[in-house]
């Protein structure tokens, strides 16, 4: 994978005029606060329900989030060509005390308990590795039964687990908490690297902003995938996209530049590799997240990435909000783009209302709002005169 030839902290903090629009899109797509709180409450309830079962209690069950729910990269799901309200939230119920029975038995045990819940039990269904509980209008919770992976834990993988696979009637290795820790750690490392050779001090807000930018690149890429593939089976897996994006993130705070640069690097990597590249699990090198890739699906992937990159470049050429809204619609779907542009409009209304808008009389009246963007303001910039639009 390529590394940037020059790293400056100025680069790292530089914003881009498209950042606010991509941030608006990400905000429209992500798990809203109300749903997140509801999910946390539901998880609490399920946790208590499992723990209070006398049969399970001695195994010290622990319920915790995994996947995009844990690393905060959820996006509103899209199924059958439509956006849905119910987010997919992944949880693990780990019997910390161990399980000496078969994988199928573990699954059935957890299934029995969840299915017996007076309120939620009727919404439970069995999937290959998890019990899916459908909270209507809210979210789907995929609860994965698990036991500690004793062997891997002996070798220092303190959070490694084994998960029953009902199809193979066997255990599958997993380590979601390690992956989540890697995701954040990798991000922090990359940001720190950029500061090492400079005289500027790394601030906590640099790390937070960087994590935010990385999360948004994942959300936006997953969304674009959902729009492009629209329910196809052979979609690039979220875990593959997440790993590649984290691996190719070099600390930029700007959502647009972080996304464009990462996608560019992934494009270069995918096309440069001889044969079928692997996307190794960074916390378990024996696992290749992209093991299902063949030359066809790899081609699909490359086409997807290349097309995304072209779309991102095109976005930068947009001449004004109308074209921008249209291009955002192509990338992320029209309704989402429309909601994002409305957020932008509302923000402008507020900024102008607070008299924070300027215009450049010597530059064809160009509007600048210094408090909102990184745009440069000349000395001849003036406040937009007050008045009330009328007529009609």
């Amino acid at each position: 994978m390529q590394t940037p030839s020059s790293s400056t902290t100025h680069d790292l903090r530089t914003g881009h005029r498209l950042d606010e629009h991509l941030d608006d899109v990400a905000e429209v797509l992500q798990l809203d606060d109300a749903r997140r709180r509801a999910a946390e409450l539901a998880a609490s309830e399920l946790h208590a329900w499992i723990q209070s079962n006398p049969g399970l209690q001695p195994h010290t069950p622990l319920l915790y989030p995994q996947g995009s729910f844990l690393i905060k990269t959820t996006v509103r799901p899209r199924r059958d060509g439509r956006d849905r309200d119910e987010f997919d939230l992944d949880m693990v119920v780990e019997l910390q005390g161990g399980w000496t029975g078969t994988p199928d038995q573990l699954f059935e045990r957890i299934w029995d308990r969840l299915h017996a819940h007076p309120t939620y039990g009727r919404y439970a269904t069995k999937k290959r590795r998890c019990v899916c509980i459908d909270f209507p209008g809210e979210f789907h919770m995929d609860v994965l039964p698990a036991r500690p992976d004793a062997d891997r834990r002996k070798n220092g993988h303190h959070t490694a687990i084994e998960v029953p696979d009902r199809k193979l009637h066997d255990w599958k290795e997993s380590d979601p908490r390690s992956f989540a820790a890697w995701f954040e750690r990798r991000c922090r490392e990359r940001i720190k690297e950029r500061f090492v050779s400079s005289s500027m001090s790394l601030l906590p807000e640099d790390v937070e902003a960087g994590l935010g930018a990385l999360r948004k690149t994942v959300q936006l890429t997953k969304r674009h995938r959902d729009v492009i593939f629209n329910g196809d089976d052979d979609v690039p897996r979220s875990i593959v996209l997440t790993t590649l994006l984290a691996d190719n993130y070099y600390g930029r705070r700007s959502t647009y530049l972080a996304l464009r640069d990462s996608v560019e690097r992934i494009d270069a990597w995918a096309t440069a590799t001889n044969g079928i590249p692997r996307v190794l699990n960074p916390v378990n090198e024996e696992e290749n997240f992209a093991e299902a890739w063949n030359s066809e699906s790899l081609q699909e992937f490359c086409r997807f990435i290349r097309r995304f990159l072209a779309g991102l470049h095109e976005l930068d050429q947009a001449r004004g909000p109308q074209e921008l809204g249209r291009l955002l619609g192509v990338l992320f779907e029209e309704d989402v783009a429309a909601m994002a542009m409305k957020k932008y409009g509302e923000r402008q209304a507020e900024l102008f209302g607070r008299n924070e808008a300027l215009y450049e009389p010597k530059d064809k009246g160009r509007i600048v709002v210094p408090s909102a963007t990184a745009a440069l303001v000349s000395e001849s910039a003036r406040a937009v005169p007050r008045g009330t639009n009328f007529g009609g």
Binding site: G320, E346, A349, G365, R366, V384, T388, N389
Partner: protein
Amino acid sequence: MRQSTRSKATKKFVAVGSLQPFAGGIEYQTRIEYDIRRAPRIWIESPRLERRSDEEPIPHMYEQERVCAFMPQIDWNREMFIADYVPGRVVQWLYFYEIWRATGEWFGGGIHPVVPEKTRRLATPIDTEAPLE
């Protein structure tokens, strides 16, 4: 504004120029006409301003022809300098026009004059551009 002429016949001051609300964005050829008896009047000559649909006329215009970026008898008075006031208002209007085109909502604030149904039928529309004296 690039040029201005004083037309002797009609005693009118005309200024034309280019306004570009968004960096790298669309440039609007704008014409401001001023005759001392009224508030300045503004046309966007090119590109053509467009409705979003038949049912969605452009907000804050006179007869879908002239931009209305201020209230003539309230925001404007003859002591004011056109150059200081009008271009800034028009570019603000164009900014929100573009956002309206993108979203269907006018975020620039303003008022649409409401003519009560009865008077609309019985009398001519209120002339907000009546001479200032």
